[in-house]
């Protein structure tokens, strides 16, 4: 009975205790998990924040080739340091090498032709011609002699008019043939005609120029570094076809990375807050202890459409951004070209919170 008497009150007290416990346990606030790394925060009072992307101080140069073809040799690996003029990769040269031989043969031929013409007259050709002159001289003497004999006969009946005329014409004919043989000899001795020589010389020059053209093309098959710097990316491999013109992925990417540039995208609505030479600080994403002050380089004068993360080609552009370039020495931070950083720039202050009507008027255009 004694126990029973207290069952109900004990139950009641236990009930209240349970209620108190429930209430207490539920009023405990949830503690959200701490972030893996604290996000970067601005060191300035009126900061303009922007997403920056690290690039080489020469900008990132997408190396192209002037001649298309199969890659036959790659001289560098990604990360290699090169100086201007160092070969980067070569395109297969067999076709052009063969053509070079053809062109060189043509040049040799033209040169030989010129040499031949310069060497005229051929010495062996002269004695026959001189002999011919002598022969003709002798024949003229003979004709003259015969004509003299005939014309010396005083009795007209002894020599017919016809025979005399024959002898006279024979002399004239022999004279003419002597003159011709002498002229032939002179022509032979004179050698090549000047204009002909000039043509031959021009032919030699043309052939030489063609050889030089092919040699230039051969040289262009080897793509060389345009500036001193680092090879950032190599997208050509032995046996691959290298296309001419702008390609989606550059054949090679290089740039001078001793000084790094950081290209900061600033929303066009904030563009007016940026002044040249404004101070700026960049933070490495994921570790806000890694930060550096930046040196102003320039403001890109043209405002560009923002490149979106999604990369969808059909995406409509609704934001344009002002790009501001800053620089910092490479050894200052462990960052790589192409890496994104959080950048804060010391900007002009916004006009202090406008009265309600003013901000409401500004809101719709800013939102879209």
């Amino acid at each position: 009975m004694f126990v029973r008497k207290y069952v109900i009150p004990v139950l009641a007290v236990a009930g209240v205790a349970a209620a108190v416990y429930t209430v207490r346990s539920e009023s405990r606030p949830v503690t959200p998990a701490p972030p893996v790394a604290e996000p970067a925060s601005s060191p300035f009072n009126t900061p303009v924040a922007g997403a920056g992307i690290v690039e080489a101080s020469t900008q990132n140069i997408a190396i192209g080739t002037q001649l298309a073809g199969i890659v036959s040799k790659v001289y560098v690996v990604a990360g290699a340091k090169v100086t201007a003029g160092d070969p980067l990769f070569s395109i297969d040269a067999r076709a052009l090498s063969a053509e070079l031989e053809v062109r060189e043969a043509a040049l040799a031929s033209a040169q030989q032709n010129l040499a031949r013409m310069r060497a005229l007259p051929r010495p062996e050709d002269v004695p026959p011609a001189e002999a011919k002159v002598k022969e003709m001289t002798a024949m003229l003497e003979d004709a003259r002699n015969q004509f003299a004999l005939m014309s010396a006969v005083e009795d007209p009946r002894a020599v017919s008019q016809d025979a005399l005329a024959q002898r006279r014409f024979a002399v004239a004919s022999a004279e003419a043939r002597l003159a011709q043989s002498k002229a032939d000899l002179d022509l032979l001795k004179a050698g090549a005609w000047k204009p002909d020589l000039a043509i031959a010389e021009a032919n030699v020059r043309a052939a030489a120029a063609q050889v030089a053209t092919v040699k230039t093309d051969l040289d262009r098959l080897t793509v060389r570094a345009p500036v001193n710097g680092d090879v950032l990316q190599v997208n050509v491999r032995l046996g691959e076809f290298a296309n001419v013109g702008p390609v989606a992925t550059p054949l090679m990417l290089m740039g001078d990375t001793d000084t790094l540039h950081i290209r900061v995208d600033i929303d066009e609505n904030d563009a007016w807050r940026i002044t040249p030479n404004a101070k700026a600080t960049a933070f490495v994403r994921g570790n806000k202890q890694l930060k550096t002050d930046l040196k102003f380089v320039r403001i890109e004068p043209y405002v560009v459409p923002k490149r979106s993360l999604t990369g969808d080609s059909s995406e409509r552009v609704d934001t344009r951004v002002l790009q501001v370039l800053y620089s910092f020495p490479r050894e200052r931070l462990p960052v790589y070209v192409g890496q994104q950083m959080d950048v804060f720039i010391d900007g002009l202050a916004r006009p202090t919170s406008a009265p309600a009507s003013g901000s409401a008027a500004a809101a719709p255009e800013a939102r879209n």
Binding site: K5, I8, P9, L11, A12, V13, A14, G15, V16, A17, A18, A19, Y21, T22, E26, S27, V30, T31, P32, A33, P34, P35, V36, A37, E38, P39, A40, S41, S42, N45, T46, P47, V48, A49, G50, D267, N269, D270, R285, G286, K306, L309, T310, D312, S314, E315, R316, D318, T319, F344, G347, R350, S353, A354, S359, A362, A363, E365, A366, R367
Partner: protein, 381 residues
């Protein structure tokens, strides 16, 4: 005399237990129904409270609740970072996406993308894996407690587990960890991944940034920062509490839950009050004969009043204690089963006041009978 009164009460054990049961049941009804309503209302803000690493949520003015996706332009994030008084700001993506589990089961889930660099805005605690595992390829986190129910493999049996692979919007993902979060009002399982991965998984839209989570400088005036953010971006910045309140109000009013549940709570209250009052009143009426005897023996009116009050309040207090105890216990059971239950301090207090008022009313009503009583009535019967 109080002792006699209590003896009277306890003496008739059946009636005594009946009375206690009545009061306890009334208390239970009042506490239980209102706690469930409060619990439901509270659960609408679970996501916000779990993600409350910042102080402010920047969102479109027209956002009505936490799962409403009215996305913002990407550059808003940088604009917000540039507002004075903002210590840091991180992006949050959130969207409803279709998932296809390994065995072909289809499920709709809520994909949440949190800042890649810092993983700010993640779930409150991890069970398997760690938050940093999100940096692994195709990594996502699933809810450890909700998975057996919400990510059940209907064809193969079992449910999605740590290290399993499945598809979200035809993109393969891997469960790199499981987390534990507060129970949410929204049924769809919440799957966490990084912001940029969420963007690549989700179908492309013009704008993909759902919220910007903002932490203010220590000592900054939240309202002033919110105003500056509005001036700079034209967007609304809400504190965690404001956002949770907006969400709660939307769910309660727009979905009709308040009307439905409010009705249930009201009915529970009315029924509890009626049962309790009725039983107490009946008990006094049943005891009229004894009061008559006492009166005949010379007990004064005051003595009788004290006696009735002692009885009524003894039953009230004991019944309330038992009722509230059972209410808490039932709440624990219901809560463990995954239903909403939340008992803030004011629910037991209101229930106590209600029970006290019922007791007082019942006492007053029965006292009029007792005081009007003719002692002779005892002998008439």
């Amino acid at each position: 005399m109080i002792f006699v009164a209590l003896k009277m009460l306890i003496g008739d054990r059946l009636k005594y237990l009946g009375l206690l049961a009545g009061v306890a049941f009334a208390t239970l009804l009042i506490v239980q129904q209102s706690s469930i309503l409060v619990g439901l209302a509270h659960q609408t803000g679970s996501f916000i409270r779990d993600t409350a690493q910042g102080d402010l949520w920047v969102m479109d003015e027209q956002v009505r609740f936490s799962q409403d996706s009215l996305n913002l332009r990407d550059t808003v994030l940088q604009q917000v970072r540039g507002v004075a008084g903002v210590r840091w700001a991180v992006p949050v993506y959130q969207g409803f996406l279709k998932a296809r589990l390994g065995d072909g089961t289809r499920a709709t889930c809520i994909l949440v993308g949190i800042d890649d660099a810092t993983l700010t805005g993640g779930p409150p605690s991890m069970v398997e894996g760690s938050l940093a595992d999100l940096r692994q390829d195709r990594a996502v986190l699933i809810d450890h407690d909700a998975a057996p129910q919400k990510l059940r493999l209907r064809n193969a049996g079992g449910h999605l587990r740590y290290n399993d692979r499945f598809d979200i919007n035809d993109h393969e993902v891997r469960v790199a960890g499981t987390y534990r979060a507060s129970k949410s009002f929204f049924w769809e399982p919440v799957i966490y991944t990084t912001y940029s991965r969420a963007l690549s998984i989700a179908p492309a839209e013009r704008k993909m940034l759902t919220y910007v989570l903002v932490k203010t400088q220590p000592g900054a005036d939240l309202a002033a920062v919110a105003r500056d953010i509005h001036a700079a971006t034209g967007l609304t910045a809400r504190t965690n509490e404001e956002f949770a309140a907006v969400t709660r109000d939307y769910i309660l009013t727009e979905t009709g839950i308040l009307v439905n549940f409010g009705l249930a709570v009201g009915l529970g209250f009315v029924i509890g009050v009626l049962i309790c009052g009725q039983m107490l009143y009946n008990f006094t009426l049943d005891s009229l004969r004894y009061y008559g005897s006492l009166k005949a023996m010379g007990a004064t009116g005051l003595t009788l009043i004290i006696m009735v009050l002692a009885q009524v309040f003894a039953v009230g207090v004991l019944g309330y204690g038992i009722g509230i105890g059972f209410g808490s216990l039932l709440g624990k059971l219901v809560g463990n089963a995954g239903l909403a239950f939340m008992m803030p301090w004011w629910i037991p207090v209101i229930a106590a006041i209600a029970i006290l008022v019922i007791c007082a009313v019942a006492a007053v009503l029965s006292l009029t009978q007792v005081l009007r009583l003719e002692p002779a009535i005892v002998f008439r019967a």
